[in-house]
Point group: C2
Chain length 351, copies 2
């Protein structure tokens, strides 16, 4: 059960009173108290949590973004991450692409009776580390437990608040023909990492999820280019293709992209071929699609390239007036095809 022997050693003694989560841990009484005080609060220690109020009190002033996501990824621990850091980074990135600097998170667990203490502890550690990396604080939370067979080990909801950059003017309505489509990094890593673990596949090199916070890079883009950045979105479920389809559907414009400009990694391409997946439909957790004024797209690329996570950023295509509602792909071999909208059944529980 314990996938990481180190974790057990770091487990505080009281938390070892039980090997697994029981229904009582969700009852609101003594056991819930124990789980929180000796488990959660040991790691995520701050004044808001320690006050154990029904809500966190925050002083806010200005324009804020609010975003929520529930995470049901399976497996809960995978190459490059856990459901815990995914839950932190996922909401952090929804705020990031909304132009906000993430500040505060809420954290809500739905645990299945029988979840092992050591796995829960490992997930808590990954949450703490992801919060530290992203510079956000968990200020309020909740824990529920459901009977064995009524959940799947652990589901996590995070909801986040971030302050919107004063120069941000991001919305699909600002997108216009001629704008450039920039992809900040190589696609499909997260989905492939999950699928490889789930299917027990072995690749020559282990591909890890790209889960990571993106707001530092997004904030720099906004600071430098202001409303030259029209729109940003992180292509999670449904991948890059789904973001592009959302754009053409809502703007009633068209998109053209070029296969040879996709920053596709060889390992990922190979894994996708083996699994029969198109990398543009596979989930990501550490890249974003950025629509930028064509006058600044080279400068955007330059800025992205200065970041480790953006070193492979590429202008993959542009917004056009032609074929409104359609995404046209120019293939490597010179062909053209309209990319279909994902129906969504391909990869359940990828995040």
């Amino acid at each position: 059960m314990n996938q990481n022997p180190k974790v057990q050693l770091n487990c505080p003694i009281p938390f070892q009173d039980f090997d697994a989560i029981t229904l009582g841990h969700g009852g609101g009484g003594k056991l819930t108290q124990k789980l929180l005080e000796e488990g959660v609060f040991t790691l995520l220690n701050n004044d808001w949590l320690m006050s154990q109020g029904d809500a966190a009190n925050l002083s806010l002033d200005g324009e804020y973004a609010l975003s929520t996501d529930s995470f049901v990824v399976s497996p809960i621990i995978f190459p490059g991450g856990t459901i815990g850091d995914l839950a932190v980074n996922g909401t952090v990135n929804d705020l990031a692409v909304s132009g906000a600097e993430p500040k505060y998170l809420t954290l809500s667990f739905i645990l299945e009776e029988g979840l092992s203490t050591s796995e829960f502890w490992e997930i808590l550690i990954s949450i703490r580390d992801a919060c530290t990396q992203a510079g956000v604080m968990v200020v309020s939370g909740d824990t529920k437990v459901v009977e064995k067979g009524k959940g799947d080990r652990i589901f996590i909801n995070t909801t986040g608040i971030g302050k919107i950059h004063s120069k941000a003017r991001l919305a699909m309505k600002y997108i216009r023909p001629g704008d450039k489509i920039i992809l900040s990094g190589p696609p499909a890593r997260h989905g492939i990492a999950i699928m490889s673990k789930r299917q027990g596949l072995e690749f020559e090199t282990t591909l890890t999820s790209d889960t990571r916070p993106l707001h530092h890079i997004c904030q720099e883009m906004l600071e430098k280019f202001g409303d030259g950045i029209r729109f940003m979105r992180d292509p999670t479920r449904g991948g890059v293709a789904t973001v592009l389809h959302d754009i053409v559907r809502q703007t009633k414009l068209g998109i053209e992209i070029h296969e040879n400009r996709l920053p596709l990694e060889n390992e990922v391409a190979g894994a996708c071929e083996m699994l029969g997946l198109d990398p543009l439909y596979v989930a990501n957790e550490g890249i974003f699609v950025c629509i930028a004024d064509h006058n600044i797209s080279d400068d955007c690329l330059h800025t992205l390239h200065s970041w480790e996570y953006g070193s492979q950023a590429s202008v993959i295509g542009n917004i056009v007036e032609e074929h409104p509602g359609g995404v046209l792909m120019h293939s490597n071999i010179g062909g053209k095809r309209m990319m279909p909208q994902a129906s969504g059944e391909l990869l359940p529980r990828i995040c």
Copy 2:
């Protein structure tokens, strides 16, 4: 499957394309789009949701409360409510007892494959109606679907933001010996309603859950009595006894309460006796515990009595220096006993 024939009739035609939720509805593609646009957005229509951004943009200025809760109640439809209005009112009330006027909610679903369309629709309607009653708006959301057997029909997370009343100075640290303990209404209705449905029990009269928003009454209390109100909390999981125990544990003071001052309804008392439950440990969703300066407790009661929901409010006891950490009950027959802390196993999945 359809518990309310009226619901089917109100169901918009596109939503009837499918009888049940499938994994594809959580995939982020076409089916997710359909579920949202033709289902969720039809009912919860506002500019924030319709923009379909990754986050809602909010202008905020001042002191705010932020609270999160995941709801896993079983059954999902019960006498007096559904998991939907419970999820709205639950978070609304966490904000209310924190002194805040709830403003914005996020709404996140974890659906189990196979959940019937009509039940989901009924829950959506109850969410809409609860939002209208409470005066809050759902501004951002998320929908995930898990395989049959990996969830339990529907889990809902709501996270809310509310503006804190300028006169609110609420925290356990303000509680002092001599303060009065007020219960705003009769205890145990919610827990008994759930248990009766769950166990298929028949009572002479159907007891309904007390789920309802409390912020109007809480705001009036703060407006009138300011920092004379030391602390408020809604006694959900673990009931009134658990709130009292939280208070004595954190304040290191004692509490005395009087059984004959509890506003216990006869039907509830009878049901509790039949089920072998102590009503003070049974969950509530529409009452609150209020700790008030003894000088204003009569005025507080007068104000509470002016509200329908507060008509049975009662001063049930007081804060004492004696037996720190303990809750002493003076029974109807003249005895005294220390009330134990709930261990929490009694009533799983009550909210």
